[in-house]
């Protein structure tokens, strides 16, 4: 397993009508080939901003990057010229979104759009491209592929369309698929199908996947590694099983506890009071302090530093690593 994408000290500032927004505030993240990595956190925490930075999909007149995003052990994506960047997009790294309609042109046939993606990056005949697109449609469960090839986006249900966008994103056998909330707009039944499909294809094609979600249940379902994001920072990351069994950051624990569990009836759920902070100013102390059950005086004024545990497990909090299980007290 090698490091496919390595993000070092990434910061993303965004010029918006309401002023400068520090959407990503110094994150480090490594995605290895052959793993499913999840980024989880509430809306507005900078997950999409991070994901889009990997492909530099922002309007670059409004965004300022610093830090580096190293691809495949060397080249910095943030410094690449347009030509090299376009070569990587779609071919090496591809992306799908919450609304599959953003992937497709509503006026063109689904199949033609998938073939086109292939023809841009590979020197093959049109007939060959069509054949491979039909194969790919069948692979994602759109059957029979040959008949569905000529359907238009509006003729498909949301779940089918998301499958089709997966087919399109995987047609060039990318080394990394970035999926930004791919199941958030779908029913639970469709969500279960899509997650299963993504996992199966990832294992078959040996590609890496970066999946973004606000739901820890999705992380439990398919991820190997997870990074938890809050207010533009990664506040905990590590192996999924470790993080579920012994979360060290209170935010991670609160997010896990807010998933409705079966078997619990007529009980109150754990909810997180308030909302994540606005990112248009600098944050003093720990960003989670105003909502944190364990916050002490120190947390409000002094920014915590990363602590590292076994197996690459890291977290950003003043609490000792076993505090959440013991009841919690800052050192």
């Amino acid at each position: 397993m090698s490091e496919l994408v390595q993000i070092n000290h990434l910061k993303v500032d965004l010029m918006s009508i309401s002023g400068l927004i520090h959407a990503v505030r110094d994150i480090n993240l490594t995605i290895s080939s052959d793993e499913i990595h999840g980024i989880v956190g509430e809306s507005g925490c900078g997950k999409s901003m991070t994901a889009k930075s990997i492909l530099r999909l922002h309007d670059e007149s409004k965004v300022e990057y610093s830090g580096e995003i190293l691809y495949d052990g060397g080249r910095d994506i943030l410094k690449m010229n347009k030509k090299d960047l376009l070569k990587i997009r779609g071919n090496d790294i591809s992306m799908i979104f919450q609304d599959p309609m953003t992937t497709f042109n509503p006026l063109l046939r689904i199949g033609d759009q998938i073939s086109e993606a292939l023809l841009i990056h590979q020197k093959i005949s049109k007939a060959e491209a069509k054949e491979r697109s039909v194969e790919m449609l069948e692979k994602v469960g759109i059957l029979p592929g040959a008949a569905r090839y000529s359907m238009y986006p509006f003729e498909m249900s949301g779940g089918q369309l998301q499958r089709a966008s997966i087919a399109m994103s995987l047609i060039c056998s990318p080394r990394l698929l970035i999926a930004d909330e791919p199941t958030t707009a779908l029913d639970v039944t469709m969500q279960a199908q899509i997650l299963k499909l993504m996992k199966q294809l990832q294992r078959e094609m040996h590609s890496a996947v970066l999946i973004i979600t606000h739901n820890f249940g999705v992380i439990a379902e398919i991820c190997d590694k997870v990074s938890v994001m809050y207010a533009g920072q990664i506040i905990e990351s590590g192996d999924v099983r470790k993080i579920f069994s012994a979360p060290c950051h209170p935010y991670t624990k609160d997010l896990i506890d807010s998933i409705p569990r079966s078997g619990e009836r007529a009980t109150k759920l754990t909810s997180i009071p308030g909302a994540p902070p606005k990112l248009n100013h600098t944050i003093n102390g720990c960003a989670y302090a105003p909502r944190c059950k364990y916050a002490a005086e120190k947390c409000c004024c002094e920014a915590p530093e990363f602590r590292t545990l076994d197996g690459g497990h890291r977290y950003l909090c003043h609490l000792a690593h076993d505090s959440l299980t013991k009841g919690g007290a800052t050192e």
Binding site: S157, T189, S262, R265, S271
Partner: protein, 342 residues
């Protein structure tokens, strides 16, 4: 149980789809909503849940059947009775941003409703202030506009607005589906409080079974315009009878990576609403479908234990603990077991 506040009797709602085809959004649905209960309506998108809600709120005419609210047929009310019905039953929608006027302050949106139902300014002010306490927001939100608030705050305000008229009944159509999981919990807890404090009667529509498990007393599982299973929360979760209900329960993401992967899996998409499958409408996706039986005639919705109804050939006999036989091109475990369950 107390007398029902709403009685839906054999309601059909067909939409004309052109080409002599129609969508049977509701196909002979009968159910009751009792006073003081939260009734959950679950099923995938397109099953007719919102249509059922819209019929009950009289936002659309029905094709056939009857809806009785508080003893009166809602489709033959006088103007005055109609206004009273509008007061007594309120709605909360999925997207809180589209249910508030973006140009008005929250205070104005709430006072408008109060005035519409004849409250004085002073009464409205006091009521609104009490409601803000209930939803744990402070008075400063009244001068804000929807765009300045988070989805969770706005959805709590939508619930507060529904409560202004002191309704007997609240219909909540997917009130948490557009929200983050962390915020979803806030809304569910608020609804739970309404139930504990005021015995609020509610219908809660959702596509997510584990969500309704937390707050509902009874649950109706719908598929393609018809009821598949209906019963108390215990009936639905601890004595699940219908293969569709099982599949819905199994599709929830696991709450930890160490939880076992459920065996049941719902394959495929909802069939096209204009081409309703013959026989049991679930048979095209059902892992237990018995060829020649399930695809020939529809099973009736039968009472399998007191208050627990199920429309499936397999599960209408007494409760069996062994697993169901699997057919339909899947593995067939033991044919003899099938005969005993049938």
């Amino acid at each position: 149980m107390s007398e029902p506040f709403i009685r839906v009797e054999h309601v059909k709602k067909y939409f004309d789809a052109g080409n002599k085809k129609c969508v049977k959004a509701l196909d002979d649905v009968s159910l009751e909503v009792y006073r003081g209960e939260i009734l959950g309506i679950v099923g995938e998108s397109g099953c007719g849940k919102s249509t059922l809600g819209r019929c009950i709120m009289r936002l659309t005419e029905i094709t056939d059947g009857k809806i009785i609210m508080d003893g009166k047929d809602i489709f033959s009310l006088s103007k005055k009775e109609m206004k009273e019905m509008r007061r007594k039953s309120q709605m909360v929608f999925q997207n809180p941003y589209s249910s508030f006027n973006p140009k008005h302050t929250i205070g104005r949106s709430l006072t408008d409703v109060a005035k519409l139902f004849g409250m004085t300014n002073a009464e409205a002010k006091e009521d609104i202030s009490n409601l803000l306490g209930l939803i744990s927001l402070d008075e400063s939100v009244l001068s804000r506009r929807p765009g300045e608030l988070s989805g969770g705050q706005l959805q709590r305000l939508a619930i507060a607005r529904a409560l202004i008229t002191k309704p007997v009944f609240i219909l909540a159509d997917e009130p948490v589906s557009a929200l983050d999981v962390s915020v979803q919990a806030q809304i569910l807890n608020l609804i739970f409080d309404l139930k504990q404090q005021f015995d609020q009667t509610m219908m809660f529509i959702s596509h997510d079974l584990p969500v309704v498990e937390h707050i509902c007393d009874r649950i109706v599982v719908m598929y393609l315009g018809a009821i598949m299973e209906m019963g108390s929360v215990d009936d639905i979760f601890s004595d699940t009878r219908h293969p569709y209900t099982k599949a819905l329960i199994a599709s929830k993401p696991r709450s930890s990576p160490d939880e076992p992967v459920p065996e049941v899996e719902l394959k495929g998409d909802l069939p096209n609403a204009m081409e309703m499958p013959e026989g049991c409408r679930f048979h095209t996706r059902c892992p237990h479908c018995i060829p020649g039986k399930c695809d020939a005639a529809a099973p009736l919705l039968k009472e399998v234990s007191p208050g627990h109804f199920c429309a499936c050939y397999l599960r209408q006999k007494e409760k069996t603990s062994e697993s169901l036989p699997v057919q339909n091109g899947f593995e067939v475990k033991d044919i003899r077991k099938k005969e005993t369950t049938l």
